[in-house]
């Protein structure tokens, strides 16, 4: 490849990635060269500016033709744009949390790394959304994963943080291995790593043995990737890692990393398995054949997440299980493969982004104040800080999926989809039943905040600017999209061409 071929590529399609990459590199250098005593927080603000820049450039790319460069390994379609926006918005809010993060044991020495590792992780996730090739997908996945491993353990002198990072690395490696093994089957059957070529190649599979292998590959890839979603059976790392990691990192893992996980799952499953013929049903893609397995995993994930969350006394662990449960709800949308699946998942992740990050902002403030993360620490929050309590209440109500909030519309979309075409009664029933279960633990926190007397410590909270920004955006998003859900849908249809170009 000479310089001329390189120049022929339409590099502008990668502008958002370049912005993040450039700023990440810049921050690394700045961290090296600026004097030790200077506050590294400025790096965080630069990071936020970079993310804003990237959002603007993504928006400017929206609505155009599908661009595919670098031998179809990088593609910019509506799907990529839609999910990149989510990733960027999520990371931006997480950075706001990070600049306000003040743990008791201090983290002045490594605060710089904190910021640019967020950016590299984000870069990995963004590459995943735009990948047209198994290799770039995997590279994006690993870039995200490795940055996250370090982030989880960034509080070097904190035992739990170390434990959390260790567990994360081990589980992550296992999941990568399983995913890669599955991918190798796909490569072996088609001789290509390009997603669209694979899809083309699989259209004509005649041998039933091949179909069978593909089914196995499907299971391996899906189970491997369920690690990123924190879905069953690969969910067990989540509570331990969430508990040990610094709060902004937990927020990052539960939102941005999860979005990235859904991106890669949708990319691979839909393009590779959406077209491959299955055993016995030549006209039916293998994905429909495997629907029951996705449904099974979705159901188990919802049950485990919601039921075990009931027994948690640590708020971060509780939110870990809650995030498992939410992954289960979104998997229901994936199972149904209804016509509004893309939109349902996108909207749910959008709503989830707002409500979960907002909740983590409150958690961060409260846990910093009390030094522990017990749910009991929320007792009497209404007395100590009515604003925080009301905001947290609103976000919990949205997480529980109550009408009038974005969480409700998200669940409604998924639920409508579940009855689209062939109704999935069992799955829908599990979803509703587990939602009812989820009321218990969400309202448990509410009871603590509003109905329990505060412990003797009744100091006022001083809420940092970064947290205020997150809370305002989170509440505005949760309420706005709950009352006027059409704003999100209109944006999606007007600017993103309804994701019809996913397969082209």
């Amino acid at each position: 490849m000479d310089i001329q071929t390189l120049q022929q590529f339409n590099w502008s399609a990668m502008t958002p990635e370049f912005i993040i990459l450039g700023v990440a590199a810049l921050l690394t250098l700045l961290d090296l060269f600026i004097p030790k005593h200077l506050d590294r927080r400025i790096l965080g603000w630069i990071g936020i500016a970079a993310i804003l820049g990237a959002i603007v450039s993504v928006l400017s790319l929206a609505g155009g033709q599908v661009t595919s460069i670098l031998h179809d390994t990088f593609r910019l379609d509506s799907f990529a744009i839609a999910f990149k926006l989510l990733l960027l918005a999520g990371s931006g809010l997480v950075l706001f949390l990070a600049v306000s993060y003040e743990p008791k044991d201090g983290m002045e020495e490594y605060r710089g790394e904190f910021y640019y590792l967020f950016l590299t992780a984000l870069l990995g996730a963004m590459v995943m959304t735009s990948s047209g090739d198994l290799i770039t997908l995997f590279i994006g996945l690993e870039l995200l994963s490795i940055s996250s491993y370090i982030l989880a353990g960034i509080r070097k002198y904190h035992v739990q943080s170390n434990e959390s990072a260790m567990k994360y690395v081990i589980n992550g490696s296992i999941s990568s291995a399983i995913t890669l093994f599955g991918m190798s089957y796909v490569y072996g059957l088609t001789g290509s790593t390009n997603l669209l070529e694979i899809a083309k190649g699989l259209l004509t599979v005649q041998d039933t043995q091949h179909s069978y292998l593909l089914g196995l590959a499907f299971l391996m890839i899906f189970v491997g990737l369920s690690f990123k979603l924190a879905a069953a059976p690969f969910h067990m790392w989540a509570p331990d890692v969430y508990q040990g990691a610094p709060t902004p990192v937990t927020a990052f893992l539960s939102v941005v990393s999860k979005i990235a996980g859904f991106v890669i799952v949708i990319r691979i499953l839909l393009t590779v398995f959406g077209s491959a013929a299955s055993v016995g049903h030549p006209n039916q893609p293998i994905l429909l054949d495997m629907q029951d397995y996705i449904a099974f995993i979705a159901g188990v994930t919802m049950i485990i997440g919601n039921v075990v969350a009931l027994r948690q006394s640590n708020i971060k662990r509780m939110f870990a299980y809650s995030s498992i449960a939410h992954a289960g709800y979104i998997l229901v949308a994936l199972t149904t493969l209804s016509s509004n699946m893309f939109y349902s998942i996108w909207f749910y992740l959008l709503a989830y982004l707002f409500m979960n990050l907002g909740a983590f902002a409150v958690i961060q403030v409260v846990t910093e104040k009390t030094g522990s993360a017990r749910i009991a620490d929320f007792a009497g929050l209404y007395k100590r800080s009515p604003v925080l309590a009301v905001i947290m209440g609103l976000l919990l109500v949205s997480l529980a999926g109550f009408p009038g909030t974005a969480g409700f519309i998200g669940k409604l979309n998924i639920f409508l989809g579940a009855f689209y075409g062939e109704p999935h009664y069992v799955l829908a029933s599990i979803m509703i039943a587990t939602t009812v279960v989820s009321y218990f633990y969400y309202f448990g926190v509410m009871t603590q905040m509003f109905f329990r007397p505060a412990s003797d410590e009744t100091g006022k909270f001083n809420i940092p600017f970064g947290i205020i920004v997150v809370l305002v955006i989170a509440v505005a998003g949760s309420v706005l999209f709950g009352i006027l859900p059409n704003t999100a849908f209109d944006f999606m249809t007007n600017n993103l061409n309804n994701l019809a170009d996913f397969f082209s």
């Binding site: 089914g215 039921v307 027994r311 009855f419 859900p485």
Partner: protein
């Protein structure tokens, strides 16, 4: 009622199909009031917001904010009701949410049922607001209470003007939240907290049914709109099984909200809330929402015989079941709570027997007399500071207003002729008989007897005889508590006259006007039904009189008077003994038996489910050992399991 023949004809022409009157298009008359009916729920919402923001500063003046805004709602509702008498149904919609080819709308509608409900809800809410000023006086969270009342009223009013199921569901949930806050208002009491939680969860179980039914119905008819659903049902676009299934699922929602068997257990517990809340929630609003939902979707239910029969059976069973439990309760509010459950069962029985008018009529009269009874009970509690009727007695002379007002409510609920409850109950009995349910009819008749009995037992124990405990400082409640009761007292008497077999069935004619699907305006039952209803209610009163009034008198007389009287009285006593041994023993036994079912079967079932969920939770968290090997192993085992299932079912080995 101002129904001119001309407008009557107009209405007859207008079916449900024509209600899509969009503002700006041609329409009959000026409907300025109905056009802006969406304002009605907003007044209490405004009150809620103001009190939320400035409640702390307003202190006791918060009451005036709440009272004024609900008064505004009430006045507006009355104007809308009167406009609705002469104008056709008005409704408007806008597109709210579009997902792909799915279009969801939001809007509001004023049809007969909605207009009537608006008035009932806003009236009772207004009276409760006024009453609470006296009752809650001195409570440190006074403004919060009024804020919650506003939120609840907003939700309920929003519910009754919703033109589609989704919007109904949203407000339905909001009503649940409001009731949760209100029932748990005394959250420092463990019972209140538990009751609030129970109410919330139990009604949620019903809501699951409603939600699934609603979504199924949506995919069948492609719409959440009531009118569209009815059109699709009429056109035969939905299969019979599907109608039955969705109707029953939706009815489950109503079962939860309206405290029907087996989801009724939250309702008596909910008495832990402040008494005005009980009046609001258990007379006119939340519990009536279930009946309202069935009434609003009546054409759907009518399309399925099975669904109607289910409703009728559940209703009749609940009516007698709750009434029999009411016989042995000693807490004044709990007696009223069980009577509410029982009366709601009556309404369901009416609707299930295709007596749309009877059900709605009883909903209205019940709202008035039950609100009166609760408020009067509150006034009693306010005076004696206990809820145990064993500790009361002889309050008639001390509570000059409350006593007679309570009597009016009691007479009305017992179905004594000329009181409102008599007419509506008669209508229901006639509907049940004519609907071809003789067994259910007799169950309802026995329940009517029991109602008269336990209500008068309550009355006699509270107001007559001698005080059974020492009660100091018993005083009548302040004026802002007695005036609302007086107004309700008047309504508890006269409200029945809008629909009588003697003076014409105005309400019935109006309710079903232009809508043949809702059935007849008035069901003409045989004359003996009315006589039977009167006889059983008087019999119940008489027995209560003998047992709880006469007996206490007897003790006094025995001490000083002669043989003749003594013999007579002894004979009276034999009568009592006889009753005691036979009928009463039987009913008491039945009552305890049903209570047993209540405690062990229903609650046991609930506890079982909870236990399973908690057990799963325990197992799950135990597996979370912190050992990273376990986590990897679980993932591998999960994968292996899936692969094996795949091999066995889908692939290689097949």
């Amino acid at each position: 009622m101002g129904l001119s023949t001309k407008t009557g004809r107009c209405q007859a022409l207008l079916g449900f199909d024509k209600i899509r009157v969009v503002p700006g298009t041609a329409r009959r008359g000026i409907v300025i009031m109905m056009e802006n009916a969406w304002l009605i729920p907003l007044f209490p919402l405004l009150s809620f917001l103001i009190l939320l923001l400035f409640g702390k500063r307003l202190k006791e003046a918060s009451a005036y904010v709440g009272i004024l805004f609900t008064l505004a709602s009430l006045v507006y509702s009355i104007l809308v009701l009167f406009e609705r008498f002469s104008e056709p149904t008005y409704g408007t919609n806008f597109e709210w949410l579009t997902i792909g080819d799915i279009h969801l709308t939001a809007g509001f509608e004023v049809n007969q049922l909605n207009a009537l409900m608006l008035v009932i809800v806003s009236l009772v809410s207004f009276l409760v607001h006024t009453y609470s000023k006296g009752y809650m006086n001195g409570d440190e969270r006074f403004p919060v209470f009024y804020a919650y009342l506003g939120l609840f009223t907003f939700a309920m009013l929003g519910l009754v003007i919703s033109p589609n199921l989704l919007q109904t569901y949203i407000f339905w949930e909001l009503v649940g939240v409001g009731s949760f806050l209100l029932i748990g208002f005394y959250f420092y009491k463990e019972e209140a907290k538990a009751a609030a939680k129970k109410a919330f969860i139990m009604t949620r179980i019903g809501d699951v049914g409603l939600f699934i039914g609603m979504i199924l119905l949506f995919w069948q008819t492609k719409s959440f709109e009531y009118s569209e659903i009815f059109k699709a049902v009429d056109a035969g676009a939905v299969s019979g099984t599907m109608i039955t299934l969705t109707a029953i699922l939706i009815f489950i929602g109503a079962v939860g909200k309206s405290g029907q068997f087996p989801l009724h257990t939250w309702l008596p517990d909910a008495m832990e809330g402040p008494t005005p809340v009980s009046a609001l929630i258990h007379a006119a609003t939340m519990v009536a929402a279930g009946v309202y939902l069935v009434a609003a979707l009546f054409p759907l239910f009518q399309a399925s015989k099975t669904a109607l029969l289910t409703i009728a059976v559940i209703g009749a069973f609940t009516a007698i079941f709750a009434a029999s439990i009411g016989l042995v309760q000693t807490d004044i509010k709990r007696v009223l709570a069980y009577s509410t459950v029982s009366q709601l069962g009556y309404m369901m029985l009416a609707l299930g027997s295709a007596g749309y008018v009877a059900g709605v009529f009883h909903l209205m009269t019940h709202a008035f007399f039950k609100a009166l009874l609760f408020l009067a009970a509150g006034s009693v509690i306010h005076a004696v500071h206990t809820q145990n009727i064993e500790e009361m007695g002889g309050l008639w002379k001390k509570l000059k207003f409350t006593g007679p007002l309570f009597l009016i409510g009691t007479l009305s609920i017992s179905g004594v002729p000329l009181f409102s409850g008599f007419f509506s109950k008669d209508e229901i009995l006639a509907a049940a008989w004519e609907g071809g349910h003789p067994i259910l009819f007799f169950l309802a008749l026995i329940a009517a007897f029991m109602t008269a009995f336990y209500m008068f037992r309550l009355f006699f124990m509270v107001f007559t005889g001698k005080p059974r405990t020492e009660m100091k400082n018993v005083h009548e409640s302040p004026a802002n508590m007695t005036y609302p009761m007086m107004l309700l007292g008047v309504l508890a008497i006269v409200a029945g006259y809008v629909n009588t077999p003697w003076f014409g069935s105005f309400l019935g004619d109006w309710l079903v006007d232009g809508n043949p699907r809702l059935g007849h305006a008035h069901v003409e039952g045989p004359i003996w039904i009315m006589i039977a209803a009167t006889v059983v209610s008087l019999l119940g009163i008489f027995m209560a009189y003998l047992m709880y009034y006469k007996r206490s008198l007897a003790r006094n007389w025995l001490s000083g008077t002669g043989d003749t009287l003594h013999t007579i009285l002894t004979n009276k006593y034999y009568v009592d003994e006889f009753y005691q041994l036979t009928v009463i023993a039987f009913t008491k036994g039945l009552s305890y038996f049903l209570r047993f079912i209540d405690v062990f079967l229903v609650e046991g079932l609930v506890k079982g489910v909870v236990g399973i969920v908690q057990g799963l939770g325990r197992t799950g968290s135990r597996m979370q050992s912190g050992q990273v090997q376990t986590y990897g192993a679980v993932a591998f085992i999960g994968l292996a399991l899936l692969a094996v299932i795949y091999a066995l079912t889908g692939g290689y080995l097949r």
